[in-house]
């Protein structure tokens, strides 16, 4: 199993270069790049945090409750303010038909609060 390393001739190897060398290099590069993700994320988070704070100020000033992400329907525009029957807004037996409804799960917190009110 243990390969004897052959003597070098004229400064070069008698056999082709070992495949493990570039592989180990790539493994190291991969670990380094994974580490760089965290470094980059940290740096950008640091630079973005002031704009996030400015957004929070706009939210506070205008007394907003939701993000303007899903503007397709009134109950997807303000999911935190939507009522319990969001899925049945248009007809008592109609199921949710907006694409956003298949991504989002209903809020457990709202359901709990409704439980006390209803």
């Amino acid at each position: 199993m243990n390969r004897q390393i052959p003597p070098k001739k004229n400064g070069g190897s008698r056999f082709p270069a070992r495949k493990s060398r570039p592989c180990l290099f790539l493994l190291g590069a991969g670990v380094l790049l994974l580490g760089l993700i965290f470094t980059h994320a940290h740096v950008r988070r640091h630079s973005d945090i002031s704009s996030i704070h400015r957004l929070a100020t706009v939210v506070e000033k205008l007394e907003l409750t939701d993000l303007a992400l899903f503007t397709e329907a009134r109950y997807t525009r303000h999911p935190s303010q939507a009522d319990l029957y969001s899925a049945f807004q248009d007809h008592p037996t109609s199921l949710e038909h907006f694409p956003m409804g298949s991504i989002a799960a209903p809020s457990a917190a709202l359901r709990r609060l409704h439980g006390k009110v209803d």
Binding site: I52, L62, T65, A68, L69, E72, D83, A104, L113, V117
Partner: protein
């Protein structure tokens, strides 16, 4: 120690040669593996970043919003409720909030009309979100008309476009004066859309909410924590149909990995037989197979995660945009801030590398215990 390292480095050399010999099979596995990590990683990075950003942005949201429920749905709330709420111990202030939706048939979009209490706007002037401005190509000093509830229409002057930096929360906003708002919706001055309440001690929020429900049984208080948790729920990658789709993709991948690892070709069997015949131990053959799996896993995982990171944080998750936008006509143009922590990477690792390893370990062991004599004779 040096001998031990040299032994395993030689096994690594042999493993690499073996992988290169079957490059077609291994490359296809690598591509599928990278795609699985990429999709799962993109979904996880996006949802986690949005969830964290929402929680930071909504820190400025009202502490409590009180809606009135009528026939199970929310309805304009009488201003007379304000005094009752202000009388509850612990409440600093209670103010009316005016907002509603209007449909613009010109572009088929819903706008959110809102009266800002802290910005004084003269009658006939509005401020619009950057999403509306971009979509309608309307800018400062331009005119914009809305249909009133009575069927007539009214023209407004755009005083300003809300800063594009705040598009995430204001893309579809139209800010206008109270008089104009009440005129558009014919909302009497005795009613508001809902009420915003400030509490002296945040710990008393739930107690005050209970008191509001006792005092005004037809109301529904929504506290800020619930608004934030709504977004936790919306962007929970473990919830919704995303999980189902990702689980199906993972299952398909595990089946593929199992098939690739268990379907040993005649060449591979003969190779293992020869290795064992010339003195390789079962543990060495298992080491070769384990190295194969680990190398493929590591490179696929690294490439997949790097691609996912680039996709979400450099290209704003462009591939997911159709799903995120849905039928929305107005969609905010915003840059996603990377909130990435080792926990997410560890979860991703366990969701991809572990199923692959489990799917390949049994076939590897079966390959390693093969009888060299029977293999070489077959």
């Amino acid at each position: 120690m040096a001998r031990w390292i040299e032994k395993y480095r030689s096994i690594l050399d042999f493993t690499l040669s073996s992988l290169v010999r079957r490059k077609g099979k291994n490359l296809s596995l690598l591509v599928v593996y990278v795609l699985v990590v990429f999709m799962l990683g993109s979904a996880m990075f996006l949802t986690e970043a949005m969830k964290r950003e929402a929680s930071l942005v909504l820190k400025g949201a009202p502490e409590m919003v009180i809606q009135r429920l009528l026939q199970g749905r929310y309805d304009p709330i009488p201003m007379s409720y304000l005094e009752k709420i202000r009388g509850i111990r612990g409440v600093i202030s209670a103010e009316p909030r005016l907002w509603g939706y209007i449909y613009d048939s010109a572009i088929g979009a819903n706008y959110t009309l809102m009266v800002p209490r802290n910005v004084a706007l003269p009658s006939g002037e509005i401020m619009i979100g950057n999403g509306i401005s971009r979509r309608r190509m309307i800018y400062s000093k331009d005119m914009m008309s809305f249909n009133l509830s009575n069927g007539s229409s009214r023209v407004f002057t755009v005083r300003d476009v809300i800063s594009p930096e705040s598009e995430l929360v204001s893309a579809d906003l139209v800010l206008l004066s109270e008089g104009d708002f009440r005129e558009i919706f014919e909302l009497p001055s005795t009613h508001a859309t809902d009420l915003v309440v400030k509490i002296r001690n945040p710990k008393e929020l739930v107690t005050v909410a209970k008191k509001v429900m006792e005092l005004l049984p037809d109301t529904r208080p929504i506290i800020r924590d619930e608004m934030v948790r709504t977004y936790d729920s919306v962007f929970d990658w473990r919830g919704g149909i995303v999980t189902v789709l990702l689980m199906m993709a993972l299952l398909a991948f595990v089946i593929l990995a199992w098939e690739k690892a268990s379907g040993l070709s005649a060449d591979e069997k003969r190779e293992i037989g020869i290795l064992k015949a010339i003195g390789w131990e079962t543990s060495d053959v298992i080491a070769v197979k384990a190295y194969e799996g680990l190398l493929i896993s590591f490179f696929s995982f690294t490439v997949g995660i790097l691609l996912a990171y680039g996709h979400v944080f450099f290209f704003s998750a462009a591939l997911f945009a159709p799903a995120m936008k849905g039928w929305s006509v107005l969609y905010p143009d915003f840059r996603i801030t990377p909130f990435v922590d080792p926990y997410q990477v560890a979860v991703l690792f366990f969701l991809t590398v572990v199923p692959y390893t489990v799917a390949t370990i049994v076939p590897s062991w079966r390959a390693a215990i093969v009888d060299p004599d029977s293999v070489m004779r077959s």
